[in-house]
C-alpha cells in the first residue's frame, strides 16, 4: 500500500507513477478534453444506429465463439493466408516476434521501415529492436509520429498522443522541421504529410498491425482514418503484418458487425475512413502491392487465457479504447501511469495476465470498480469482475509458500471476518470503536491526520460513528403503519408469495 506522500519518486507502482501525472495540469486537461469529446461522439453514433445493446450482444457472441474455437479458426486463417501467397510465422513471445521481424528486415537488407499504428508492435518493442540494428523506423500515423518525435510511448490505444497539447505538438514539429509552424492544425498536418510522403516512397518495408484476420479467406483487415496503412502496405516491396493470435474472425459477415462496433466505440464514427482488406501479396496481373507478405502471429501470454473461465473473454477485446475514454482513473492519470503498453481498464487486466511481472501486480488495484468500462465495452468484457478476480489471484499468490511472509491485508480482512461473522462480536467491536473515537470526534466528523486510513482522512472529513447504531434504535421505534397507499394505481398489489 502506498500512502499519500510516498509516491513522489516511486515508479514501480501505478500509485507512484500517477503522482507525476496528477501534478501535470496540461496532461490532465488534454486527456479530459479528448475523452469527453470521444464519449460524446460515441453516444451520438450509437444512438443514431439504435439497438446498441443488441449490437453489443452480437459482438460479444461472435468474439466469444471465435475465441472458444480459436484453434480451428486460426488454423483456417493460416491455411488460407498461405494459399493466397503469404508467409506465416508463429511467435511464442515478444522476443520471438521481434526476432522474426528482424530476420525479414535483415534478409531484405532494409534500412527504412515505414509503420502504421499498431499496439501489438508496441507490445514486442520492435522499433527499438530494429533501431539497435541500424534500421530507421518511421511511424506514419499522425499521433504515433508525434509520439516518436517526443521519444515517448502511446498513452492511449486509439489516440497515442492524447496527452499532448497543440502547443507541445507545434514545438515538436518545429524542432523537427527547423521552422516555426504555428499551432494551426492545417499547417501541422501539412508538415507531417510532406515528411511522411517521402517515407512511404523510400521505405524498403512496410509494417502494420492487424485489426482482424478473416479465417474464411486468410485476409488481413486494417482500419485507419489517415489512409497511411494503405500506403505502408501497398508501396514498399515487402509488407510485414504483426497480429495478436486472437484477432481472428470467422467470416466477412462477422467483420460487418465489427465494422459497426469498432469505429463507433473508438471515435464515435459511423464508418471507418479506410478499411483495407489484404489477401496475399501482389498477384501476377496486379500492378501494385508488395511482392512479399509476411504475417507474424504473436501469442505472448494469450493462449494461457484460453480455457480459463475467469479470463478467457479478455481475448474478445477489439482494441477500441472505449473503456479508457469512460474510465475515471484514466481520466485523471492518463496512460503512462499504467506503465505498460496497454493502459486503462483493459490494460489493468491484460497487462498482468500477459506479463505477470511484479511491476504490474498493483494495476488491478487502480480501479474503483465503477463498471463504466464494462458498460462501454462493445463486446461486453466484464472488466470490473476480472479486476476483482485478479485481486483474488494476487491474494492467493501471497498466501502460497514463497509468497510474502506476512500479508498485512490478509491479516486485516481476516480480523474483519472474525469480528463481522457473528452479530454479537460486531456489536461489541462497534461499541468499543464508539468509545475510542470519542476524543477525536467533532461535530459528527473525525478530523485526523494520522492512522491507517490517513489516505482517506488527509483529504476528506470522515464521519464519526453515530452515538447509537440503528440496530439499538430500532428496538425502540414504534411503527405507525398506514393503510397501504394506492396513489399510483398498482400499489401493494404484488403477490407476497
Amino acid at each position: 500500500m502506498t500512502g499519500v506522500g510516498a509516491g513522489a519518486k516511486d515508479t514501480t507502482t501505478i500509485s507512484g507513477r500517477s503522482h507525476a501525472a496528477l501534478a501535470d495540469d496540461f496532461l490532465r486537461a488534454a486527456v479530459r478534453f479528448t475523452t469527453d469529446r470521444l464519449k460524446d461522439r460515441k453516444r451520438g453514433a450509437t444512438e443514431e444506429l439504435g439497438r446498441w445493446e443488441e449490437w453489443r450482444e452480437r459482438g460479444r457472441a461472435i468474439r466469444s465463439h471465435t475465441v472458444a474455437n480459436l484453434d480451428h479458426y486460426l488454423r483456417q486463417f493460416v491455411a488460407n493466408a498461405r494459399a493466397a501467397g503469404a508467409a506465416v510465422h508463429f511467435a511464442a513471445d515478444a522476443q520471438e516476434a521481434s526476432a522474426a521481424v528482424l530476420g525479414i528486415v535483415q534478409e531484405k537488407q532494409a534500412t527504412l521501415v515505414a509503420k502504421s499504428k499498431s499496439m501489438v508492435s508496441e507490445e514486442i518493442h520492435i522499433n527499438s529492436r530494429l533501431e539497435e540494428h541500424g534500421v530507421r523506423v518511421v511511424e506514419t500515423d499522425l499521433g504515433e509520429y508525434i509520439i516518436q518525435l517526443a521519444h515517448e510511448t502511446p498513452s492511449h490505444i486509439i489516440i497515442p498522443a492524447i496527452h499532448k497539447t497543440r502547443e507541445q505538438i507545434k514545438d515538436l514539429f518545429t524542432h523537427d522541421g527547423g521552422q516555426d509552424l504555428g499551432t494551426d492544425t492545417k499547417a501541422l498536418v501539412a508538415f507531417a504529410r510532406s515528411k511522411l510522403r517521402e517515407t512511404f516512397l523510400a521505405a524498403d518495408i512496410g509494417m502494420t498491425g492487424c485489426n482482424f484476420g478473416i479465417a474464411e479467406s486468410g485476409s488481413v483487415v486494417l482500419f485507419t482514418n489517415e489512409g497511411n496503412a494503405d500506403m505502408v502496405s501497398a508501396l514498399p516491396k515487402t509488407h510485414i503484418v504483426v497480429m495478436g493470435m486472437e484477432r481472428v474472425l470467422p467470416t466477412f459477415a462477422d467483420l460487418e458487425v465489427m465494422a459497426n462496433l469498432l469505429p463507433r466505440s473508438a471515435t464515435g464514427q459511423k464508418v471507418i475512413t479506410y478499411m483495407s482488406v489484404i489477401t496475399g501479396p501482389r498477384r501476377a496481373r496486379e500492378v501494385s502491392g508488395p511482392t512479399e507478405l509476411h504475417i507474424v502471429i504473436l501469442d505472448n501470454g494469450r493462449s494461457s487465457q484460453l480455457g480459463d473461465a475467469e479470463f478467457q473473454d479478455v481475448l474478445n477485446c477489439i482494441r477500441c479504447g472505449a473503456c479508457l475514454n469512460v474510465c475515471p482513473v484514466y481520466r485523471h492519470v492518463g496512460g503512462h501511469a499504467y506503465g505498460s503498453v496497454y493502459p486503462g481498464p483493459i490494460g489493468a487486466v491484460l497487462t498482468p495476465l500477459l506479463l505477470q511481472g511484479e511491476e504490474f501486480a498493483d494495476l488491478p488495484n487502480a480501479s474503483s470498480l465503477c463498471g463504466a468500462c464494462y458498460e462501454a465495452c462493445p463486446v461486453k468484457i466484464p472488466l470490473h469482475d476480472m479486476l476483482v478476480a485478479l485481486r483474488r489471484r494476487a491474494a492467493q499468490r501471497k498466501a502460497k509458500p514463497g509468497g510474502v511472509r506476512v500479508d498485512r491485508e490478509r491479516v486485516a480482512w481476516s480480523g474483519y471476518a472474525t469480528l463481522f461473522a457473528k452479530p454479537g462480536r460486531y456489536r461489541l467491536v462497534t461499541r468499543v470503536a464508539r468509545i475510542v473515537q470519542a476524543p477525536l470526534a467533532r461535530d459528527g466528523y473525525i478530523e485526523s491526520t494520522f492512522g491507517p486510513l490517513v489516505g482517506w482522512t488527509g483529504s476528506r472529513h470522515a464521519p464519526a460513528l453515530a452515538p447509537e447504531p440503528f440496530r439499538d434504535r430500532f428496538s425502540r421505534m414504534k411503527q405507525d403503519v398506514k393503510v397501504a397507499r394506492q396513489n399510483d394505481g398498482k400499489a401493494a398489489e404484488s403477490d407476497p408469495r
Binding site: V329, A372, L390, F420, P423, G455, D488
Partner: protein
C-alpha cells in the same frame, strides 16, 4: 398473508447514518409496510470480496443468508450492497448446496430502496414537499450493476417544490470504491475533487444519492474543501419532505 419485509441496513448506515434507516422505516410505514430488522445481519462482505479476499467475504456474507431466510422482501439503502448480493452471491456461495440455495433465494427478493418503492409498492409520489435546489449523483453500482437508473428520478419528480438540476458528468464515479480510496488515495481524491467541483457548480443546496458510501466520500470531500452543500440520502430527503408536506 401479510408480506414480510426485512431491512438490510448495511454496516455503514447502521453505524454511521442510522437516520437514513429510520427514514426508510417511516416511509415504508406510510406505504402500509411494517418493517422488521433481523439482528443477525452484519455486512454483505463486499469490502473483503472486492479486495480479493473471497473466503473472508463468505464468512461475513453468511450472516445475511441467515438473517433474511424467512422474509419475502429485503430492502437496502444501498445499491452497492444490494448489488453485491445480486451480482456475486450465487458464485460466492457455490461450494455448499444449502448456501447455494439460500443465496439464489436471496437474490430475487433483494431490492434497493427506490427500486422497492417504485417496482414493488408502485409508489412514486409520497406527498413530499421539499422546496430546494437539488442535484442527484447516480451511484455506479446501483445504476450499473443493479440497473437502478430511473427510479430515484421518478421519486424526486414526485416531490413538490423540488428544483432538480442536472449534475454534469453525473455518471462518473466519485472515487470511493471502498478500499480503493485508501489504497490509491491520490487518484481517489482527484476523482472526489472533480465530483465535488461539479456538485458545487450546479449551485444546488442539496446533493442527493442512494448510497451512503459515495455520499460519505463526496460529502467528506465537499466539507474538506469548505463547501456548504448539504448531502442527503434519498430516503432522508423524502422523509423530511413528507414531514414538511404534512405540516
Amino acid at each position: 398473508m401479510r408480506m414480510r419485509v426485512a431491512l438490510f441496513v448495511t454496516c455503514l448506515v447502521d453505524n454511521f447514518y442510522p437516520r437514513v434507516a429510520e427514514s426508510m422505516v417511516r416511509i415504508l410505514n406510510s406505504c402500509g409496510v411494517e418493517v422488521e430488522f433481523p439482528p443477525e445481519q452484519t455486512c454483505c462482505g463486499q469490502p473483503a470480496f472486492n479486495s480479493g479476499y473471497a473466503q473472508q467475504a463468505r464468512v461475513v456474507g453468511r450472516t445475511l443468508l441467515e438473517a433474511f431466510a424467512d422474509f419475502d422482501y429485503v430492502v437496502s439503502p444501498s445499491g452497492s450492497c444490494a448489488g453485491m448480493v445480486h451480482h456475486h452471491y450465487p458464485s460466492l456461495f457455490d461450494a455448499d448446496p444449502d448456501e447455494t440455495r439460500s443465496a439464489r433465494e436471496l437474490v430475487p427478493k433483494t431490492y434497493e430502496f427506490s427500486q422497492f418503492l417504485v417496482h414493488v409498492l408502485g409508489v412514486t409520489d409520497l406527498g413530499a414537499f421539499f422546496p430546494h435546489r437539488v442535484t442527484y449523483h447516480p451511484s455506479c453500482h446501483g445504476s450499473r450493476l443493479l440497473g437502478v437508473k430511473e427510479e430515484p428520478l421518478q421519486l424526486l419528480a414526485g416531490v413538490r417544490g423540488l428544483d432538480l438540476v442536472p449534475l454534469p458528468h453525473a455518471e462518473d464515479c466519485c472515487g470511493f470504491g471502498g478500499a480503493f480510496a485508501v489504497k490509491m488515495p491520490e487518484i481517489s481524491t482527484a476523482m472526489a475533487t472533480e465530483k465535488a467541483d461539479w456538485v458545487t457548480e450546479t449551485g444546488a443546496e442539496v446533493l442527493v444519492g442512494t448510497d451512503m458510501g459515495c455520499l460519505m466520500n463526496i460529502g467528506g470531500r465537499l466539507r474538506h474543501m469548505g463547501r456548504s452543500v448539504r448531502v442527503m440520502h434519498l430516503a432522508e430527503l423524502l422523509h423530511e419532505g413528507m414531514e414538511q408536506g404534512r405540516g
